[in-house]
Symmetry: D3
Amino acid sequence: MVLAVGAHPDDIELGCGATLALFKKRGHDIHLLVLTKGEASGNPDDREKECLLSAKTIGTENLYFGKMEDTKITDGIEAISQIESYIKKISPDIIFGHSPKDGHQDHRNAAMATLSAARNSKKVLLYESPAALRDFCPQLFVDVTSTFDLKLKALEAFGSQVSKIYFKGNHSVGAHSPAVGSARIPYVSNASEGLARFRGFQAGVELAEGFEVGKFLLEIESK
Amino acid sequence: MVLAVGAHPDDIELGCGATLALFKKRGHDIHLLVLTKGEASGNPDDREKECLLSAKTIGTENLYFGKMEDTKITDGIEAISQIESYIKKISPDIIFGHSPKDGHQDHRNAAMATLSAARNSKKVLLYESPAALRDFCPQLFVDVTSTFDLKLKALEAFGSQVSKIYFKGNHSVGAHSPAVGSARIPYVSNASEGLARFRGFQAGVELAEGFEVGKFLLEIESK
Amino acid sequence: MVLAVGAHPDDIELGCGATLALFKKRGHDIHLLVLTKGEASGNPDDREKECLLSAKTIGTENLYFGKMEDTKITDGIEAISQIESYIKKISPDIIFGHSPKDGHQDHRNAAMATLSAARNSKKVLLYESPAALRDFCPQLFVDVTSTFDLKLKALEAFGSQVSKIYFKGNHSVGAHSPAVGSARIPYVSNASEGLARFRGFQAGVELAEGFEVGKFLLEIESK
Amino acid sequence: MVLAVGAHPDDIELGCGATLALFKKRGHDIHLLVLTKGEASGNPDDREKECLLSAKTIGTENLYFGKMEDTKITDGIEAISQIESYIKKISPDIIFGHSPKDGHQDHRNAAMATLSAARNSKKVLLYESPAALRDFCPQLFVDVTSTFDLKLKALEAFGSQVSKIYFKGNHSVGAHSPAVGSARIPYVSNASEGLARFRGFQAGVELAEGFEVGKFLLEIESK
Amino acid sequence: MVLAVGAHPDDIELGCGATLALFKKRGHDIHLLVLTKGEASGNPDDREKECLLSAKTIGTENLYFGKMEDTKITDGIEAISQIESYIKKISPDIIFGHSPKDGHQDHRNAAMATLSAARNSKKVLLYESPAALRDFCPQLFVDVTSTFDLKLKALEAFGSQVSKIYFKGNHSVGAHSPAVGSARIPYVSNASEGLARFRGFQAGVELAEGFEVGKFLLEIESK
Amino acid sequence: MVLAVGAHPDDIELGCGATLALFKKRGHDIHLLVLTKGEASGNPDDREKECLLSAKTIGTENLYFGKMEDTKITDGIEAISQIESYIKKISPDIIFGHSPKDGHQDHRNAAMATLSAARNSKKVLLYESPAALRDFCPQLFVDVTSTFDLKLKALEAFGSQVSKIYFKGNHSVGAHSPAVGSARIPYVSNASEGLARFRGFQAGVELAEGFEVGKFLLEIESK
């Protein structure tokens, strides 16, 4: 049972979409808790629909929305108790959340609230958003070579956010043909893919997502 | 397949002895590489024997000694290539080594050499020695409640080191009866046990060993 | 004159109770400022009574409550000015407060507010709460071997909090007889004691409390 | 006048090759000091030739070799004084060197030696090698969109190092067609390019190299 | 085009007044955005007048006030959008703001808000306020030997703040004649000057202001 | 009993000369261990004489020289055992040493060796040399207003080092009359004084020396 917590629609997918898709592929249930509907950057109904479409692409319909206000998430008891209630309900084996090392105030506060809410959980991993500060320092990696396509496809769902730099990437669309992409996803960020390659290099695999370790209680399997 | 690397006899046991015992208990092969014979603090032959006795207690006879000189381990090519040769031979799934955040020069250098030698390995965890600096910051924990007794028993083997503070602990022997110990191990450090309790508290279990994450490529098991 | 500031009843005792008891024992006046009545985890009147009982155990009746709301302490001017008013009234030689490296939002904010309020004070030490983050890094220690019993006894006062993990510790009550404890305090945390042993080991004494140094103006006594 | 210092042939190109090419393009003289001939990973004569070919590609023949031994560079007076002598000779306006946050002992030591030798220089920037530790944290960026091709071409010169992971990249050659590359450079690392895209994203440009700031005395130009 | 953002009147001058004066001297336009009128430490009308006088001394009348409340600046959307609107209007080439490593809550929050608002800017430098935490770590310096007098003169404008320690400095007025000052500015801080000398020493010049680098996209001028 | 350890003649005085003078003034014995004779920057006999003259100015003749080679101090067993032998002989209550956050390789290594040698000591404070890295972060301060003159006078003894930047300071001699100095010490660094003012400001006194805390076991005096 996997729970991922994000501040806005698309944060989870950008941070750990390929990892979640891999969990799904391996038979795990995944649950997504999005603290706001992202109403500061678009129509909340549209964003909710996009988010559900994206969730389905990754492989789940377990999508929940918190009741925080976009741009005004705090690290206080409101956010904490909302997250706690989902942890209680879902009993996740592993929780994914924002890293506090992030330039967006909602992300930082969501990170702190997630860490507080998950204080008794066994595994908490913190993902790298496009707004992550440059001292984000991943120690744990997941090889997402087999599911990175799904991440890109999931990101396609967020049509309303296309103008954002992490979607159009850091080049004029089409200037370079994306290495992984296809005609189907012309606007997908080459920043996301660049990062996946670089984290992959650090991990010794082709494409990876990197995580800071909030807490990780390692279980030792019998052999 | 597990490989643990330490600077001197007793470093591995103090840092991750209970974790290794748990790996053994779960059916994994464990290998110990000790870079020196600890000749600066005792007769090297005696220390070698003690070390083998300790290894057996943990559950292995796969004990190897490097050819470094006690107190003079460097982080250079000599140490690196010795460690590399064992990595090549053993192909460990996981490697345990010193943390660079350590007050002992041999530990620091062994840590850097281990990290260099293991640069292409998938999982490298850094253990907490009694000389660890106070900014050692564990992110990953192993619940060693079921094997902590074996760690203490293994430490008993190091009779020649009894006068060291981390063996006699931070109190006069016998002043307080150790919580876990017994008549059998009157001199075992209550510092080790105190640390295991504290790390256990942080991990949400009774007794734990804590590790910094050098690198951890998380595999996602099929369910 | 000593002032300790905590977010909730029991924070001060858990963080620096034995150190305060030692100050008292050596003839210093100690004052406790608790910013909230901890109403989120129990009846505030009960918690106030427990807190006073605990304070008396440590050796003082100088117990004050701030007017902050439990779970909603901020690092802003309200908290700062409440703390400032007590600093003005008491003129403490040394101030103890939370560390900002803490997983609880109230603790973090109390820490920042205390540091702001104490900006002109000569000595500010930051204590280690059970929720301290793992990068809490103590540099200054107090040997509390002679008063640790009083700390445990003071913690007994907080009967309403018994179910919290840092009270019952990280094992079933009674599974191990605590090394320091007695029949009188069966439920006291072995985590607190484990930490005190470990910090004691780092400090070279039997049992210690560790502190981060906010500021310390060292006076050099005439000899 | 620009001076770049590297431990081995190819370090400078991997770390700041595109930035140097840009300096050249803008009319600055560039000088390369390579502390060893990289004899531990190939024939030193071959590596010297490759290095000169690479330097020419970037746009300079000012290539110097230090007299350090591969794998045995220290941070001591030998390395420092060799670097100092070139600083004295060249009087560079800006110096590029390794970062101390690097997993390779030669890189770490070269970094410290460069920082010591350059202690009176006005601008020292530390580049990101493929072995950089994950806490490398760039603050300063150079937009290398216009010269990244030259970097890749320069890297082609190092034919003897093709088997190294940062050359072949983290995928089987040809599995994905590189975004920037061409038939001409089939083996060039897609890790380098992934990193350049990601750093570019952080800098707000297409492709960037990122640097830690050793020291930077900002001159304010008249307008 | 230069934009400096500060929490209160006098923050900008204390942090980067001499650098701004140098920009002006070299022909650049400078703009000052002060988020509050500092009403918690004086009459806001008086403080506004002082601030304008100070701005003129540095060489600009482009002084704007935000609509935040003194002591209650947040890092949220209100502060961010106020700063964004000025960035949009002014299109600065370089932005100066507070560092998050600051003991004053308004400064910390202003810093985070400035970094968020400036996320797409090319150059963001963070200045050192008198309340900066001791882990403030400047990497970039400006030689302000030629304009430090102007900084001191600008600080003279803040007559209402004379009682603050960073104005009267850390000694009784007149106990030592300030090295740089004159009869004209008897009360100006010798702390500011001490810091300028020390940062100057680190930078290799006589007097300097030091900055942490938020982001710096280095342009390479043609030669 | 106070022991200060430095790498070269003048390091101790620059780092903690005024603090040592204050200890002496308050009746404490002070001992100076200088690991090398500084033969890389002058005639060792001359430097030894200067060092003794300086020691006398501070108030002691207890000056010892280690047997390390200038520019080649290591952090290994040779340096450690030399320092240990003096700790054994002198039994200092407090030890002053270099900080590892220093740009000079001898200083870094001396720091690590001092920390290792002093691992069982109760108080170890790390001083700020002119070569300290910019992330040196003092937490503990000593008010040296009353003895700073002695520090400057002691530094006068090092006539052979006058050309070094930290002696002549960061301005042409005489350009500004030093605030504290006099005709007697025209060449004394205004950097040292600038730093003392700045650290004094941070400590809330006129002139201070700042220290990182290696370890500090706080004793609580009876009142």
